[in-house]
Symmetry: C2
Subunit: 126 residues, 2 copies
């Protein structure tokens, strides 16, 4: 048994928010995905991001709004947002900080190579 807590973790500033990569935990080395804590301070937002990994963002505190490809989705604690490779996303916090556990992995098949047509189109549109 191992416990991981955002409160006990080293956080750095990236993407305009605070990030705690799970590489800091020796016990996380065997997981079949990468993970990081994300903390969005109250009344702020992350920078626009998109990447080739699939991402499951599990909201563990606060009320997030995910803006994905220009559309807003409310995501309070107890919800999770699954992002497709290339989805352009911003996370916004309201009057309370938002805390998220982000789990991500490269998909099998052509999408992992970065040559899949939809991804190329998304990159062109940036």
């Amino acid at each position: 048994m191992q416990k991981f807590s955002i409160d006990d973790s080293a956080l750095t500033s990236e993407y305009g928010i605070h990030i705690g990569r799970w590489e800091q935990y020796a016990a996380a080395a065997g997981l079949p995905f990468s993970a990081m804590w994300c903390q969005v301070p109250a009344n702020s937002r992350s920078v626009l991001d998109h990447h080739p990994e699939v991402e499951l963002a599990v909201v563990v505190g606060g009320d997030a709004v995910f803006t994905v490809n220009g559309e807003d989705t409310a995501a309070p604690a107890g919800s999770a947002i699954l992002l497709t490779p290339g989805d352009r996303h911003v996370i916004t916090a309201g009057d309370e900080p938002v805390r998220i556990l982000s789990i991500y992995w490269l998909p099998d098949g052509p999408a992992a190579t970065g040559t899949e047509p939809e991804q190329a189109a998304a990159a062109d549109a940036r």
Copy 2:
């Protein structure tokens, strides 16, 4: 983009608590792990469980106590508990309900066969 929410999900009673398996979501079919929401009502606990899967239990609401192999660990929202195959665990909620996203998968290698010595010892001790 897909959103999953414990509030919008079908829950059933299993393990003495309320469970929402992600098999109910078509969009979860491609994930490299299984997942389920767990809700422990206030002032109650799950039945003792152990299984061959690795489990990452992400606390998304309330203050859980995980009793793992007889030892208590406080796990508030914003923490995650990694359970090794065979770990005997109970989840207890205090005055507020506890909500968890449980992510689980069979480990690679000998541990998945159920013949790994530590697991056999744990089974004997049941």
